[in-house]
Amino acid sequence: MRYLSSKKAKSRAEESTGSLSQEAFSGDLEQNFHQLELLLHGCSDAVIKNFKFGSDPQIRGLIVYFDGLVDKTIVELSILKPLLIDLESLDGQLQDFNNNLLVIDFIKNSLLTLAEVNTLTSFDEVCAHISSGDTVIMIDGCNIALVAGTRAWEGRGIEKPDNENVIFGPKEGFSETLRFNTAMLRRRLKSTDFKLESFVIGRITKTNVVLGYIKDIAPQQMVDEIIARLMDIDIDGILDSAYLEEYITNQPKSLFSQVEYTEKPDRVCGSLLEGRLVIIVDGSPMAMVLPISFPQYWGAADDYYTNFIAASLFRLLRISAFLLALLLPSLFVAVITFHHEMIPTPLLLTIVASRQGIPFPAFIEALLMEFAFELLREAGLRLPRSIGPAVSIVGALIIGDAAVRAGLVSTPMVVIIAFTGIASFVSPHYNAAIIVRILRFGFLIASAFLGFLGIMLLLILVMIRMVSINLLDLPYMSPLAPLNLSQLSDIIIRRPWFKNMYRPYLEGMKNQKRQGAK
């Protein structure tokens, strides 16, 4: 409920919903009841219960909620029991009120044993609240309604994130329930400076979206800019945080993702402490952290939980894996079709011997193998878990063995493609892995036509593109370009914590010092 009652909740999308629901309550309960029935017509999960409470005079009231979204125990014990039973013990109280509006104030402040109770004035708000799991109480003769926070739907619970395995560090991950997710963050950042601004986006979904940042660390103009961009979104529905990426980045048409998705609250907190922002969408376990520069994709969550020397070596390993995944097939094709002089003689002889009788040029061979590899990967992703291993068996047999036996591909090529595949799995960020997967094909084509020259040309083009991207004044390649040596030491390697005096610089950041005197 607290998200809905946020001031920022007024978005254009919300204003453009149907005219029926925008009406205010009338003082007559009967009329309100009909209005509600009209609104909730066809919603079989909606529950409207009429009741009478108090004595002398008896007052008619109703509660309305969606079944499955509310905790019925709370509804029964904290709303209906006080009204129907506890009120009896305060015999004759109600006749002191000559106005039912005073009654509703009494119920709100003195009768209901709930912490979250608010007042509503329009059907529009009623719809928004009941579809979020709150219960609305209406009383005859009142043109305001009460809303009680009774949300308690069945969620997945807190589980270990599947896609971000770590050895060290916290294991819990976000779930689909926004409230749990924000709680996980709040538990780690016990400061009122940690702000969670709430929005409702989506004409139909009315999805709760929360923007989290730490005041005085995150640059204020960055926060304002993102708020403005979020308020500007007009769409019928938001089902995942990824919907928002294309609305709030500067270059939405670009292949290069400028945000990071994570399911790990500890990782989000780490980013928040570096002055970044997080956007969490109700119904999605993926928190979106922004802005991110490309070199940060080389870091993994547990780098900061491991010994810094080991973590630095892992990071270097990841950087080399990134380069291998990007360039290895194209380098191989360039070397064996253009630049034979660049490899040692015994290796050339082995490659020449292994390619005897192969019908395809090396480029086509590499392209086919890469294509097959991508097919396998996609198939493995989509298949039900129970038959997933079948794909890897078929894949290993067909690609690894049968294709070689049939003389369609050469053994060195299988080794190269397999090695590239493994290197591409090293990336701790799926976003970065996608970029590498797609660019790899580009490099392969460039190398097939022009050899090293082609690879070099494409590399220059990609570099030009990458340095021209920025999100919220953070250049995409920083701290590599523009070069910032002091920050680079926490990108290429993992700087020990006692040396990590400053946060990574963001435009407009005021409080950059991380430890020591303020």
């Binding site: 034979h340 002089e341 490659i351 390619r355 005897q356 053994t411 022009l450």
Partner: protein, 387 residues
């Protein structure tokens, strides 16, 4: 129009790539014949050049990539090297790849005639590696050298290069000479080119290859050679310092000692004295181990160590003087002493430069060796045999 400009540009770029791909030298790995060694010799009438190239014969399949087990040597003749090469390609089903040639053999007859014939081709040709080892074949043409198998290595070209490298590390008799060094010596005044000699010898029924001396050039022609002992002394004089290698020193009539040289560094000082006489001070400082005692008696004792060192110094001095004497007789400064004079006496060098072989022959060498025995391996004593 402008909206789709980048799409059009990208399409044009891809189309250009596709069109230009025919112009580039794409050579698929199964369509190339890697050459491992090559050689050039004058033909029997000394009119045409004979080019011989050793190709690797790939024997493998996609399933089992075996490396090269067989080689084949192809030869052709022509008035120039390019012409010979063109004639060779008329009978080759694959594209020859010459960039992996690691061994280049100059025929003896050609070496004695004129190196200039091949120098231009090899320096100009981008497919010729600077690190290719240069040899002179003696007694047999390059074709036969390339055709003679080396034990344990299918390709004689690779085998020959390996022999040279292995003996350099273990025995340090012959100095490997790479193409860039060879041609630099050829074109620089004050130093002459040299390279190892390779010969075919009989070993039982089989023919094998053997390194058999150092070819010594004067200007653009081979004028003589150093034998094994002289080559060894020449290697010891290498100012870069020689490592490894064994020296056999006679202790007395019945006993030979083998000293292992661990390091030996030569220092040169050129002197022109008041009378205008040229002298070259060669100072060698080295260390070695007591490696083998061939003969009876307790020799390795503390008083004897100085004696052993002296004997070793004498042996090295003798060999070196012999080598220098031979080079002076031929008038071939492969030691690069001319360059030392050029550096120390630039003015005098201007006078001597044009007639350097003459001056070189007159240099009086002063060799001083300082050698120290360091270790004696596992045994500190000699064997005493009971009667």
């Amino acid at each position: 129009m402008c909206r789709y400009l980048h799409v059009i540009c990208a399409a044009a770029l891809i189309a250009a790539l596709a069109l230009f791909s025919g112009c580039t030298d794409v050579r698929e790995a199964n369509e190339i014949a890697p050459a491992l060694g090559s050689g050039i010799e004058l033909d029997d009438h000394e009119e045409q050049l004979k080019l011989s190239i050793q190709f690797a014969v790939p024997e493998g399949s996609s399933e089992q990539a075996t490396s090269i087990k067989k080689t084949t040597v192809m030869s052709s003749t022509g008035r120039t090297i390019s012409e010979a090469s063109r004639n060779l390609s008329l009978s080759l089903p694959l594209t020859p790849i010459l960039t992996h040639v690691g061994t280049f053999i100059i025929g003896e007859r050609l070496a004695q005639t004129d190196l200039g014939i091949l120098a231009d081709f090899l320096i100009r040709n981008p497919n010729h590696r600077e690190t290719t080892y240069i040899f002179v074949s003696k007694g047999s043409p390059p074709e036969e050298i390339l055709n003679t198998a080396t034990p344990l290595e299918a390709s004689s070209a690779i085998g020959l290069a390996n022999i040279l490298e292995v003996q350099e590390n273990r025995n340090a008799i012959y100095q490997p000479v790479q193409s860039n060094q060879f041609f630099r010596n050829l074109t620089t005044s004050g130093i002459e080119p040299f390279c190892p000699i390779v010969s075919v010898i009989k070993n039982g029924d089989k023919k094998i290859l053997k390194l058999a001396g150092t070819a010594v050039f004067k200007k653009n022609r081979m004028v003589g050679e150093l034998n094994e002992t002289e080559s060894r002394a020449f290697t010891l004089m290498n100012p870069k310092g020689s490592q490894g290698g064994l020296l056999v020193v006679r202790w007395n009539k019945n006993t030979l000692l083998t000293i292992e040289v661990i390091r030996l560094k030569a220092n040169y000082k050129a002197v022109i004295d008041k009378t205008g006489k040229l002298r070259m001070r060669v100072e060698l400082k080295g260390e070695g181990n007591y490696y083998e005692q061939f003969g009876p008696g307790e020799i390795l004792t503390i008083p004897n160590i100085t004696k052993i060192e002296n004997k070793t110094e004498q042996k090295i001095t003798r060999d070196i003087l012999q080598c220098i004497q031979k080079l002076q007789l031929m008038g071939c400064d492969i030691l690069g002493w001319g360059q030392i004079y050029r550096a120390q006496y630039p003015a005098a060098w201007q006078v001597m430069r044009d007639d350097w072989p003459h001056y070189f022959a007159q240099i009086e060498p002063e060799v001083k060796v300082n050698f120290a025995i360091r270790r004696s391996y596992l045994s500190t004593q000699s064997f005493e045999y009971r009667e």
